[in-house]
């Protein structure tokens, strides 16, 4: 079942087909040679072509009706989607359709289904709002003498970034007093065993640890860790976009941010997003599916709103709660962002930087190669110095190449709780 837009009239441009052109050439050349050489066999050679040109039709369709199904919806990078088109009112003309893809779209083979719809499979290779391309239709008459062509721009699709995989979460040692799923250091009503203590009146009898009671001679009670929710703010630095398109630093930052937000929202944590681009835009931490849509919407669209890039630290408390874990996806090329990270750390925020820089300046070829190599070495040293200074401040910096799961670089911080000292 296909939900379609109402059909619209599309004008057809007609021209002589290539087949007709060749028939005309054969006929004219044969007749010309028959006249010049006075050899009747050349006139006979032109006869089949002449007869095939005889049923030439002069009344042609001015327009056909085209329906496009609005079935693509939002897609994810690399995911196959299908647009459907149906052409009606083409009488006995045969219809041939193909999809000429736009940038970052891969088109598949168009297929005609039993219901008369032409399915145009395609795949979006890069996140963002993308034009699918152009539908090209060729109409051919029964005698294959004329070709009618029409082209229709296909609608745009919204492509969500492919979220990076993250199974093991980084959890802070101090969690706010919200019910959640992460075991906290304090005792509570959770399910994770924390220890044994002496029974005091008022404790639940069902939690008495009888083996320990037998050994010690007094009533002993099992204690369990409290389960708390965490507040995570993901900061995606899209102010610079370096590297190969499709795997650039901005691509990795967006995919990493999407994956992190998805993983923490899946653990029922409160997740917010700060997009650090030309302007700073944010979504205050929240939970649930609607929050996931808000975060994706902020990553995909740029309405030009927001605050200046030097105002991260002055964001409202709701956008940047003091107890939040701030996960920064950045190539660390923006000095103002680095200063902001230092300031956040000095204010006591728990900051974790995921470095998504996977490109280096190209030294090029030619006479200036030596100087370019030297400049590149200096640039590398400067980058290393930036990362070292952040680590010295207590901001862990890990590198992610975009190929592997985020679990690999975050493993040292996800195996145990992350302790943040003020």
């Amino acid at each position: 079942m296909v939900t379609a837009d109402p059909p619209r009239q599309v004008a057809v441009r007609w021209r002589l087909s290539g087949h007709a052109g060749r028939l005309v050439t054969t006929a004219l050349a044969g007749l010309f040679l028959a006249v010049i050489t006075r050899r009747a066999e050349f006139a006979g050679l032109a006869a089949p072509a002449l007869l095939l040109l005889a049923p030439w039709q002069r009344d042609r369709l001015a327009a056909v009706e085209l329906s496009l199904a609005d079935g693509a919806g939002p897609v994810t990078e690399g995911e196959q989607a299908v647009l459907a088109a149906r052409i009606t009112g083409h009488r006995d003309y045969s219809v041939q359709a193909r999809l000429r893809p736009a940038a970052w779209i891969s088109a598949g083979a168009a297929t005609l289904e039993d219901d008369g719809w032409i399915r145009l499979p395609f795949r979006v290779e890069r996140w963002g709002a993308r034009q699918v391309g152009v539908l090209e239709v060729v109409l051919r008459d029964r005698w294959r003498l004329t070709e009618g062509r029409l082209t229709v721009s296909l609608p745009r699709v919204t492509c969500h970034p492919l979220p990076a995989r993250l199974d093991s979460l980084v959890v802070l040692s101090k969690l706010p007093a919200r019910l959640g799923e992460h075991p906290a250091r304090t005792a509570g009503e959770g399910t994770e065993f924390a220890g044994v203590r002496e029974f005091v009146p008022g404790d639940r009898q069902r939690r008495i640890n009888w083996p320990a009671t037998t050994r010690r001679g007094t009533l002993q009670l099992n204690t369990y860790a409290a389960e708390r929710a965490q507040v995570v703010v993901v900061l995606a630095d899209v102010s610079s976009d370096v590297g190969q398109a499709g795997a650039s630093s901005a691509d990795l930052a967006v995919r990493g941010a999407a994956g992190t937000a998805t993983a923490y929202l899946g653990a029922r944590d409160r997740v917010g997003l700060v997009s650090y681009g030309q302007r700073i835009r944010w979504v205050a931490p929240g939970t649930g599916r609607r929050q996931a849509h808000r975060i994706t919407g902020l990553l995909l669209t740029d309405a030009g709103d927001g605050v200046r890039t030097d105002a991260v630290t002055s964001l409202p408390r709701a956008a940047l709660p003091p107890s939040a874990l701030i996960m920064v996806f950045s190539p660390l090329l923006s000095l103002s962002l680095i200063e902001t990270l230092r300031e956040l750390r000095e204010r006591g925020h728990a900051v974790l930087v995921i470095d998504v820089l996977c490109a280096e300046p190209d030294p090029g070829k030619g006479r200036g190669r030596d100087m370019a190599d030297l400049a590149r070495r200096l640039w590398r040293m400067e980058q290393q110095a930036i990362r070292f200074s952040l680590r010295e401040l207590g901001i862990p910096v890990v590198h992610w190449d975009g190929q592997s799961s985020l679990d690999e670089p975050l493993a040292p911080y996800s195996r145990r709780v992350m302790v943040t000292r003020r």
């Binding site: 009747a40 066999e41 041939q96 598949g108």
Partner: protein, 220 residues
């Protein structure tokens, strides 16, 4: 790739839910145009070979005409192959280069010119010229006509990725055309001593037919 609405789907061939669209039909559809291109190339080679034989009995201009015909044939086959390649499932650009060197621009222009030049028409004219530069041999010209006509049909099948059944409505006309070809060969084989007047009439009819064909092809 392309989908042809004239090709009716088989009854009951419904795609299962959840399978990738078009995944099953793609290889068969991709192989068909490739076969048609090979067939067109073989028929072009056969046409030129037949038109040139025997080269020893041809006039002076036959050799240059043959060279032109071979060049046009090669380029027309390349044009067909390029057309097929352009119709395959493809990917959009991954970002445009900010600067295209002049040599690359020139090469792109040459390629564009090669793509839009009507090489098959050139081959037809050159092949018929080669045939005309031989002495009169009606049956030989008739065979050339049949091979050339088959090549025309094969070329159209290759460029439109259509099945041979699209020519089913043309069969009566094709049969009539081949009959006329046979008649003309018979007429040409007759001794010409007593046909002076008829030959003039045939030439006049051929000229009138040429004018009609030219008028038919004028854009409306």
């Amino acid at each position: 790739m392309t989908a042809d609405q004239s090709a009716r789907p088989r009854a009951g061939s419904q795609r299962r839910q959840g399978t990738r669209p078009g995944a099953g039909a793609q290889p068969a559809r991709a192989a068909q145009p490739a076969r048609a291109v090979v067939a067109a190339a073989l028929l072009a080679a056969g046409t030129l070979t037949w038109a040139a034989l025997p080269m020893s009995g041809a006039s002076v201009g036959a050799r240059p005409a043959l060279i032109v015909a071979v060049g046009c044939a090669v380029l027309s086959v390349a044009q067909l192959a390029d057309h097929i390649l352009a119709n395959r499932p493809l990917s959009g650009p991954r970002g445009a280069a900010a600067y295209v060197p002049p040599v690359a621009r020139l090469w792109q222009r040459i390629l564009r010119a090669l793509r839009i030049t009507p090489w098959p028409e050139g081959m037809i004219i050159a092949a018929l010229a080669v045939e005309a530069l031989h002495r009169s041999r009606p049956w030989h010209t008739a065979v050339l006509g049949v091979v050339l006509f088959t090549w025309l049909l094969a070329t159209h099948l290759a460029e439109s990725a259509a099945r041979p059944t699209v020519f089913r409505p043309h069969l009566p006309l094709i049969a009539a055309g081949l009959g006329l070809l046979a008649l003309s060969v018979g007429a040409a084989a007759l001794p010409s001593s007593g046909l002076g007047g008829i030959a003039i009439w045939l030439a006049a009819l051929a000229a009138i037919a040429a004018v009609i064909v030219a008028a038919l092809t004028l854009p409306v």
